[in-house]
């Protein structure tokens, strides 16, 4: 078993670009990632792409005209976790010696799919009852507030922090900070969640090179990758806690030999304000119901003990579903190498990405993927 390194990473600015082609959207990220790795297209042994609702063969389309054909080019669809799962597969190919350099893509163009809501399966019984993703998380939020006595203001403070971080991220879809009053006063989507507590979809792309050897600059390695589908259960699942994230985190920490107290920086799946509170707890940063305290103390701010969503997260960056996992890994790559510019807090050595979601009847979540990354000490 060899080590898998995150050798380079690049994302394009996220936004709404219905007039552009998928190739056009992805190409700058692909070129920057391969060049940033100090490689040429001929060095890339395989391509693994993640996308959700952008049509068939997105990876083949994205690499067209770039000299990356005639080798394994694979497509991964795993809802929100699509490109995080693609990265896990790439790391597996490298660890097992099946490839030296794998290009990972996260690509999505939701602006061509129609409505502002993330498309769900139309035949799904819960969808036919009127379930949309904001409603699913609003119901979690209501239960969370009920069980832990948290307030609407505490929910809103997640959006305030992440939009503040996003204001320092030139690739984020939303680069304006917002106040708690503005968050609470924005249009109600599904109570208690207002518009500014819900991520926006949109378009975006990112690329990574995962390699058996580090490239130029500080070395960032995958200490562990863990994935799972949610439990398909009809029992009374706990909607104020995420059992799936907690279980996948447990596996990731065990594989990495690293505990949550050692983490310096995290990109987690804040599709909604409530999501960050629940996942902060499920990742083991604090106990159930304690995430609002952590947030209020500034522990998860850019300069805090463990920066959570320094990129601005999904709430500020936008959530072109299949591109999110790669964008999270790209942020951790920059943070661990000290290259995050205006959103670099103190030096960070251990990072984690957490990508989860998918609305499907019977499952608490469709999929969850967690990566633990470590910057190797010099010498």
């Amino acid at each position: 078993m060899s080590t898998a390194y995150l050798r380079s990473a690049a994302v394009v600015p996220f936004g709404v670009f219905p007039g552009r082609t998928l190739e056009d959207l992805a190409r700058p990220a692909i070129v920057a990632a391969v060049r940033g790795a100090g490689l040429t297209p001929g060095d890339i042994d395989a391509v693994v792409g993640g996308s959700y609702a952008s049509g068939a063969l997105t990876a083949q389309r994205a690499v067209r005209g770039l000299g990356l054909s005639a080798r394994p080019v694979l497509n991964m669809e795993n809802a929100c976790a699509s490109s995080a799962s693609a990265a896990a597969s790439a790391a597996g190919l490298v660890r097992h010696g099946d490839a030296r350099h794998v290009l990972v893509l996260g690509i999505e163009q939701l602006s061509r799919a129609g409505s502002g809501l993330v498309p769900l399966n139309d035949d799904d019984p819960d969808v036919r009852l009127g379930l949309i993703m904001p409603a699913a998380y609003a119901m979690r939020a209501r239960r969370y507030l009920h069980e832990f006595g948290a307030s609407a203001e505490q929910l809103a403070s997640v959006s305030v922090k992440n939009r503040r971080n996003g204001a320092r991220n030139g690739n984020a879809r939303f680069q304006q900070p917002v106040t708690a009053d503005a968050v609470l006063g924005s249009r109600m989507i599904a109570d208690p969640l207002t518009l500014l507590q819900c991520c926006a979809g949109g378009d975006g792309a990112g690329a990574l090179v995962v390699s058996a050897e580090p490239g130029p600059g500080p070395a960032v390695r995958f200490a562990a990758s863990a994935e799972s589908a949610g439990l398909d259960t009809s029992g009374p699942r706990d909607m104020a806690r995420s059992a799936l994230t907690a279980e996948v985190a447990r596996r990731a920490y065990e594989k990495a030999g690293i505990g949550p107290s050692e983490l310096d920086v995290i990109e987690l799946h804040d599709a909604f304000s409530i999501s960050e509170l629940m996942y902060t707890e499920a990742l083991g940063l604090c106990g159930p119901g304690e995430a609002p305290c952590l947030l209020e103390r500034g522990d998860t701010a850019l300069d805090g003990r463990v920066a959570v969503n320094p990129s601005g997260g999904l709430l500020a960056r936008g959530h072109p579903v299949g591109a999110t996992g790669v964008a999270q890994l790209a942020e951790i790559f920059l943070q661990l190498r000290g290259e995050a510019g205006p959103r670099q807090g103190r030096p960070r050595r251990v990072g984690l990405t957490h990508t989860t979601g998918g609305g499907i009847s019977g499952y608490d979540h469709a999929a969850c993927a967690i990566h633990v990354l470590v910057r190797d000490q010099k010498g």
């Binding site: 809501l117 019984p125 009127g130 609003a138 209501r142 239960r143 599904a190 109570d191 398909d232 029992g235």
Partner: protein, 139 residues
């Protein structure tokens, strides 16, 4: 005779309930095992195979009365319901079920009864349809 879950594997909304009257949500129990062998599990909605042991199942009615676990009122349109509408999870016996919530103001812990309502537009599904819902008892 209660409707059977599709044997092709896909579980449809129609498999979850019987309009009645009185309307009832349905669940199934593994027919092969017993608690002694670790099976005898209860599943919602009814499944053609026991997910735990792949043995045959028997369908039964869930209680008509339950408790509201959580809820939200949706203010934006979806393909299958006109806003505003309230969705919630109700605990009926040993299962927690999603449905629309109607009647009195919802609150966590409120007593609810299974009822049938017509919702629309059922875009792409041939007009409004009859679905189960949870009626909150009046004050």
């Amino acid at each position: 005779m209660p409707p059977r879950a599709s044997t092709e594997g896909q579980i449809l909304l129609e498999d979850r309930w019987r309009p009645g009257p009185p309307p009832r949500l349905l669940a199934c129990r593994c027919a092969t095992g017993s608690n002694a062998t670790g099976c005898g599990e209860v599943f919602f909605p009814p499944q053609p195979l026991c997910p735990a042991c792949w043995g045959p199942t028997v369908t039964f009615d869930l209680p008509a009365d339950g408790t509201l676990y959580t809820f939200t009122t949706v203010q934006v349109p979806s393909d299958h319901a006109e806003p505003p509408y309230t969705l919630g999870y109700a605990d009926l016996g040993r299962v927690r079920v999603l449905g629309q919530v109607v009647g009195g103001p919802p609150r966590i812990g409120a007593a609810v009864t299974v009822t049938a309502i017509t919702v629309g537009p059922e875009a792409g599904h041939g007009g409004p349809g009859l679905v189960y819902a949870f009626q909150v008892a009046g004050p």
